[in-house]
């Protein structure tokens, strides 16, 4: 037990663990201290000076977020001095801010706007900024509007500490301080992996995703176009937050109803493509293992890494290009689905693929970059036309005048609308691995995985890196070569953890066969396109919703999905077959340590 320390905050006395910050202590005492630069996922900065409080015996005000309680103290959170300092610091920020709220994507979810309202700000105290000073920097995925930036550095702490990508840095000093990319290059030309984690943690509209909403409306409104939406597992567990549901409420069927009313022609489940991915990736894993373990083929690389997180793919292309051969050649479920839709499905329903528009509802900002990669055109044109984030979809729905809560439950369209629970749990960190284990183990041994209720619990949870070992005994005849072999797998989420794992791999101290990496903390459910705010608790609630829904499904293994089997029978042939190879697999591009291309 660590030492408990008595504190007095205003007229409340309580005891807190040594090292607790004043901010945490205030929360325990039921007091709200306003913050701007603080974020529960990030290192302490203590720079906005909005959270200042009086600490008896100290001459200046102290930042509550940055002050560790180490001895008994008396704190005042609502004195004239405190109120004046907060108000002046807020006014300093506002006077310098280009506050054009109605043209801002964060209108209504902006922490600065909230504070201005809370503090009853009705004028600019200091001469205010009337015209934007900076040009907007836009990549296919990320938009940076420095006119809205308040230099809280949450994005920098996200990119450098949390994600360890380091695409953003602080430039200049004093009033000229700016958040910049290396050499002030456009964000599209640097190492940014488009994870969008900085967007989720920016308190203002200075960072946002590149919204394709106008173009999607154009497609929907064009009677010639057949517009398909495929929905990933994570948005359904989070989009409710945009409509007043508690975090952790799954709204799958209401979302289907909403999408139909927005005007999409077909509504499909990306879980279906996740099942397809498991078929291809599982087969690839077994093929690799056989070549490496039995045939002694050293050109085949083990461990194999998952490739469904486009943030992770770009990360490894930049920072570990020498490991690209370890990356599964499987496209992500989003891209597999696009390629199938514009070939198999287009033919099946007799629609010219050129008239087909595939929209992917994703928790992810990097999916926008992914669908624009030149490799992703195996169907003849763009396999997926638009990646749309959960937040952006909420706007489409609201704009349509739809009240999600009032809608009936509706199903996906078929075929291609049936997904298994294994595909569903792709949304949580460890889910791809669990789905793969459920299928691979059963394909190899003919028996279900030896875990209660098919729950591969060792690789669940929110630990940064988790692993498991599974010994194969009595396999089916064709997998005799695996008899007695212990399969070792690992899971990492957030690129900082991926980096840890990669460094250990480089040292040669790891002997895993298969590694799942998701670029975002928590996996896709914590994606950069998910509703704001985010926190460990919110991500845990979304994970619970996903695992609960998996339990309710009858179909929980990818290889048992009848629509997948139908797809192989009618079109693809077999996993890793000729057509699969053409449509469902891809290759990767080594990139620079600083820039998209070159060095």
């Amino acid at each position: 037990m660590s030492e408990m320390i008595p504190v007095q905050i205003d007229d409340i006395t309580c005891e807190v663990e040594k090292g607790t910050t004043i901010l945490q202590a205030c929360k325990c005492a039921g007091l709200r201290v306003p913050t701007l630069c603080h974020h529960p996922d990030l290192e302490v900065a203590g720079i906005c000076r909005i959270c200042v409080v009086e600490v008896e015996g100290m001459s200046g005000l102290q930042a509550a977020c940055a002050f560790p309680i180490r001895q008994p103290i008396k704190v005042r959170t609502n004195s004239p001095r405190v109120r004046r300092a907060r108000r002046v610091n807020l006014d300093l920020i506002l006077s310098e801010h280009y506050g054009d709220c109605y043209t801002c994507t964060r209108n209504g979810t902006c922490e600065l706007q909230d504070l201005a309202r809370e503090y009853g700000v009705d004028r600019y105290r200091y001469p205010s900024t009337t015209a934007p000073k900076f040009r907007i920097d836009r990549s296919t995925a990320i938009v940076r509007d420095q006119n809205k930036c308040i230099s809280c550095k949450r994005c920098i702490r996200t990119c450098i500490d949390l994600q360890q990508v380091s695409a953003l840095e602080t430039a200049n000093r004093g009033h000229d301080v700016l958040i910049q990319t290396a050499f002030n290059k456009p964000i599209s030309e640097v190492v940014c992996i488009n994870c969008g984690q900085c967007i989720n943690r920016c308190p203002t509209g200075a960072l946002r995703s590149n919204m394709p909403n106008e173009l999607i409306w154009q497609a929907i409104d064009d009677p010639e176009k057949h517009v398909i939406i495929q929905t990933a597992p994570s948005p359904r567990a989070a989009i409710g937050e945009e409509f007043g549901y508690e975090p952790g409420t799954s709204v799958t069927k209401k979302l289907n109803a909403a999408l139909r009313r927005v005007g999409f022609d077909s509504i499909f489940d990306t879980n279906f493509a996740a099942d397809l991915t498991i078929m291809e990736e599982g087969t690839e894993l077994l093929t690799r293992l056989k070549k490496a373990l039995v045939d002694g083929d050293s050109s085949v690389k083990v461990p194999m890494f998952t490739s469904c997180s486009p943030g992770w793919v770009k990360y490894i292309e930049h920072y570990y290009p020498e490991y690209l051969d370890h990356l599964s050649t499987c496209k992500s479920p989003q891209q597999m689905f696009g390629a199938i839709l514009k070939t198999y499905y287009a033919k099946k329903i007799g629609v010219n693929p050129d008239k087909m528009v595939v929209v992917a509802l994703m928790p992810c900002v990097a999916k926008k970059f992914e669908c624009n990669r030149p490799e992703m055109t195996d169907s003849g044109g763009k396999d997926v036309d638009f990646g749309l984030t959960t937040r952006e979809m909420a706007v489409l729905i609201k704009e349509s005048g739809i009240h999600l809560k009032d809608l009936p439950d509706e199903d996906f369209d078929h075929p291609l609308g049936l997904g298994s629970g294994a595909g569903l749990i792709f949304g949580a960190t460890g889910g791809v691995m669990e789905a793969a284990i459920r299928s691979v183990y059963e394909i190899v041994t003919g028996r279900p995985v030896p875990f209660k209720g098919l729950d591969v619990t060792p690789i669940r949870g929110m630990e940064g890196i988790r692993d498991a070992a599974l010994t194969i005994e009595n396999p089916l005849p064709e997998y005799q070569w695996l008899d007695g072999i212990t399969l070792k797998v690992a899971v990492a989420h957030g690129t900082a953890n991926a980096k840890l794992l990669m460094e250990r791999l480089k040292e040669g101290t790891l002997d895993y066969h298969f590694i799942e990496v998701m670029a975002c903390p928590g996996g896709c459910l914590g994606g950069g396109g998910q509703p704001i705010p985010t926190s460990p608790e919110i991500r845990a609630a979304r994970a619970r919703a996903i695992y609960a829904e998996d339990h309710e499904l009858v179909l929980r293994k990818s290889h048992e999905n009848p629509e997948i089997n139908q797809l192989y029978a009618e079109f693809l042939g077999e996993p890793l077959g000729h057509l699969s190879h053409k449509l469902l697999h891809t290759h990767y591009t080594p990139r620079g340590r600083f820039f998209l291309e070159g060095i």
């Binding site: 602080t170 000093r173 009033h175």
Partner: protein, 389 residues
């Protein structure tokens, strides 16, 4: 006026005597003696040196460090430069004694980038003292070893702030950090570290050899010892002076032949502007805060222009991380420009004064906490001159 003969740093000095005495006394007694002397830091904040050493000595750690802060960047300050140039051995000996007292085996001189030409002098002193076994392994045949390296600063004023300094030595952007924890707990390479000003360290060998009682004969009860002042501006004899703490502005002006002054900036840009009516006030920790720089202004000076220079300096030198300093100094400079054009109302000037109070109260480090001093004191002293131009 006090006895002007009472000099310490400009008095006699024999290299090694203090160190030898310290080794005899033992670490605990050295800390006690420095505490008893009531020596307070000469780098600006005036923290009791003995207490700082005691706190660092108490920390359990496999490694500790001593850093000599030679970043001297306050406008109008050049007293550390003189010590670096003329008395490097005294500095190094002070560092070694500090190292002995807290249990550190390595020290660094954080030398201001612009002072690169002093590097050679310091290096030669290190070599020479090592040859004489006042530095290096088993100093004077004791168990105590101490090495000193030089670290060249990158030229930012804020890097003189102890945490920004440590952060830049650790290879990061030179930005101040929240305290606590203090450097005595988590400093260079996250190890307990004592950061002392050049001048502070120079008093140490004297305190150890001559005793704290002797030291306390100088200065006032609460501000013991002497202090170096870099005197510039409208005086006949600018330069570095060693004077006792507690000296009044008037006495100081007599000493440096600064007759006809209309105000004196005590403590540089971040210090206070003192008008004629306050010239009888003493310069000491309980009076006018004793920064290292004294800038004298005569009746020909335009005080708004003086203020503008100071504010330009802070806008430039703020590290820019915290709101009150980044935005506040910019607003104060903007206010000065409005005043220049006669566009600043009395009401808005009041608003700016309130801003100054908030900066002092809520900025993250000493830079933002002290940068409004000049604004407040000059506006207060010269309101008519400034408002009705």
């Amino acid at each position: 006026m006090k006895n002007e003969k009472k000099k310490i740093l400009f008095g006699e000095f024999v290299t090694g005597a203090g160190l030898a005495r310290a080794l005899e006394m033992g670490a605990g007694k050295v800390v006690d003696e420095v505490k008893a002397s009531k020596l307070r830091g000469r780098g600006g904040a005036g923290f009791p040196t003995g207490l700082k050493w005691e706190l660092t000595a108490k920390q359990e750690s496999d490694e500790k460090f001593v850093i000599c802060n030679a970043d001297e960047g306050e406008p109008g300050t050049f007293k550390d430069r003189l010590l670096l140039m003329e008395q490097p051995e005294k500095i190094l000996e002070g560092m070694a004694i500090a190292g002995f007292a807290i249990g550190a085996a390595r020290g660094f001189v954080y030398l201001r980038g612009e002072y690169i030409y002093l590097r050679k002098i310091l290096e030669d002193a290190i070599v020479s003292m090592t040859e004489r076994n006042f530095l290096g392994k088993n100093i004077q045949d004791s168990d105590f070893s101490f090495d000193v390296e030089i670290f060249l600063g990158a030229g930012a004023y804020v890097c003189g702030e102890e945490f920004a300094l440590i952060s830049s030595m650790n290879g990061y952007r030179g930005e101040p950090r929240n305290k606590p924890p203090y450097p005595s707990e988590v400093g260079f390479r996250d190890k307990p570290t004592v950061v002392n000003n050049v001048e502070t360290l120079c008093y140490v060998p004297y305190i150890v050899t001559k005793g704290s009682e002797w030291f306390k004969e100088h200065g006032t009860q609460a501000s013991t010892g002497t202090k170096l002042f870099s005197v510039s501006g409208d005086v006949k004899h600018p330069g570095v002076y060693e004077l006792e703490l507690g000296i009044t502005v008037n006495q100081l002006l007599t000493e440096v032949s600064g007759e006809g002054a209309k105000s004196v900036q005590v403590g540089g840009a971040s210090g206070l502007n003192v008008a004629e009516k306050d010239f009888d006030k003493p310069i000491c920790f309980e009076g006018l805060p004793p920064g290292g720089s004294i800038i004298v202004f005569n009746h020909k000076r335009d005080m708004l222009h003086v203020l503008k220079n100071f504010m330009e300096f802070f806008v430039e030198e703020s590290c820019g991380q915290c709101t009150p300093c980044r935005e506040g100094n910019y607003r104060l400079l903007e206010g000065v420009k409005m005043l220049e054009k006669g566009e600043c109302s009395v009401r808005y000037l009041k608003e700016l004064e309130a801003l100054c109070d908030v900066m002092k109260d809520s900025a993250k480090c000493g830079l933002g906490q002290t940068s409004p001093n000049a604004f407040l004191s000059i506006v207060e002293n010269f309101k008519t001159e400034i408002l009705y131009r």
